[in-house]
């Protein structure tokens, strides 16, 4: 009787009723993933997972995901989780793909199983839980990676150094300034000053939502560093509210010139440089 129990365990059931399991599995998974991916894609995923699971299951009922025979399944699950994370699936949507197997298996048990098989279902269920947890773990890692990449991209995108004139460069800042970003901003600006041989830099903070003491400190440091290189900085784009906060906080900009708008700053830089901007009068030559 004991032999029969092993023989009738979930592993055997799984192996024998392959097509039915896959069909029920896909069905169950499709209910919660509806619209996110096509049925064909889902079935392909499910079929791959099923094959890997069956290939990894040896004799007996007790298995854990850490078994060496599940290496292929682990790799597959990690792959699927990665893809889902990148495609913007939620964590539930990712894990449900695996948990749906439980439901499928229950259905198969009802039709083909006996009491012994039901008993072994607890072991099966534990294994599936492990698979789900593993998927979630990989999913979280993948999401972290995505977030990290986006933060890097944002850092890159948000610090363009623009040449306005010969010897005048501008750095339009957009978004909140924290220490890490200011460091990048500072390095980029100084490098640009050296590379282009510019003596004037305009730091435009129109896109900075708020200026607190820390941000001001960062700005002052950048200006000081630029001075050490032999360049002058003008801070422009100070909105009225920011001017009020700055004064309320008691921040001293000292002898650093500040302008309300970028155009005024450019004009000031041009004047310092010795360039005059004059409007042409009289008839225009065509």
């Amino acid at each position: 009787m004991a032999d029969a129990a092993v023989d009738k365990g979930w592993a055997t059931l799984l192996r024998r009723n392959g097509d039915e399991v896959v069909a029920r599995w896909s069905e169950a998974a499709a209910q919660s993933l509806e619209g996110r991916m096509t049925r064909a894609e889902l079935e392909r995923d499910v079929r791959e997972m099923y094959d890997a699971l069956v290939a990894g299951v040896g004799e007996g009922d007790r298995h854990t995901l850490a078994d060496a025979s599940f290496a292929e399944l682990r790799a597959l699950l990690a792959d699927v989780s990665h893809t889902r994370a990148r495609q913007g699936f939620s964590s539930t949507e990712t894990a449900v793909g695996v948990f749906a197997l439980k439901e499928a298996m229950l259905g198969v048990l009802e039709e083909h199983g006996d009491l012994a098989a039901y008993r072994s279902f607890a072991d099966f269920s534990r294994l599936i839980d492990e698979l789900g947890l593993y998927m979630l773990e990989v999913y979280a890692q993948a999401r972290e990676a995505v977030i990290g990449e986006q933060a890097d991209a944002l850092l890159e995108l948000s610090t363009p150094v623009v040449k306005l004139w010969d010897g005048i460069i501008s750095l339009p800042l957009v978004g909140t300034l924290d220490s890490a970003r200011t460091q990048v901003v500072m390095e980029k600006l100084l490098q640009a000053l050296v590379d282009t041989g510019s003596e004037h830099a305009i730091i435009d903070i129109t896109g900075v939502p708020a200026v607190d003491t820390q941000v001001a400190q960062h700005l002052l440091k950048t200006v000081q560093a630029a001075r050490l290189l032999g360049a002058e900085c003008i801070i422009s784009g100070i909105r009225p509210q920011i001017a009020q906060t700055v004064v309320a906080l008691g921040i001293e900009f000292g002898d650093i010139s500040t302008k309300a708008s970028l155009s005024e700053a450019l004009l000031a830089a041009l004047r310092k440089q010795g360039t005059d901007v004059v409007r042409r009068t009289g008839r225009r030559d065509r």
Binding site: E187, L190, L193, V194, G197, S198, L228, L229, G230
Partner: protein, 140 residues
């Protein structure tokens, strides 16, 4: 190499620091520069530190001291070619090199010195050229 060479170009002294500045070399440079300014009656000192990758607080203070010494001897000091990384370090250290003027490269430094010398000449020289020499000679 124990000493940093000091080159005279017109009435400007050019110091290009190409080696790792150890403390004794820095002190020697400070003395040499003082001597040279007096000997050549230079009007300006240009210190090129574009080759320096590390500037610590000691070197920072040395630059300030050189600037002060030169000012006493009526010469202006301009530090040129500082690397961005060095500038960031100095600012983080809280050293702003007080009293030292800076320029991006030697060219601009020379222009800066020329401009300020011109201004001073305009102020000091209501008469012809010889007047200044006779005025400064008894002072030496």
């Amino acid at each position: 190499m124990d000493r940093v060479p000091i080159l005279k170009i017109g009435d400007i002294l050019l110091v290009s620091i190409q080696v790792d500045l150890q403390d004794h070399i820095a002190l020697a440079l400070q003395e040499d520069l003082g001597d040279k300014i007096v000997a050549t009656s230079a009007r300006g000192v240009l210190i090129d530190i574009s080759a320096l990758e590390i500037v610590d607080s000691f070197i920072g203070r040395m630059l300030s001291t050189i600037a002060s010494i030169s000012r006493v001897l009526d010469a202006e000091t301009v530090v040129v070619g500082m690397r961005p990384a060095v500038a960031i370090t100095l600012v983080e250290l809280g050293l702003s090199l007080g009293g030292v003027r800076t320029a991006l490269d030697v060219d601009r430094g020379m222009a800066m010195l020329a401009a300020s010398t011109e201004v001073r000449d305009d102020e000091l020289e209501p008469d012809e050229h010889g007047a200044i020499d006779t005025v400064s000679a008894p002072g030496d």
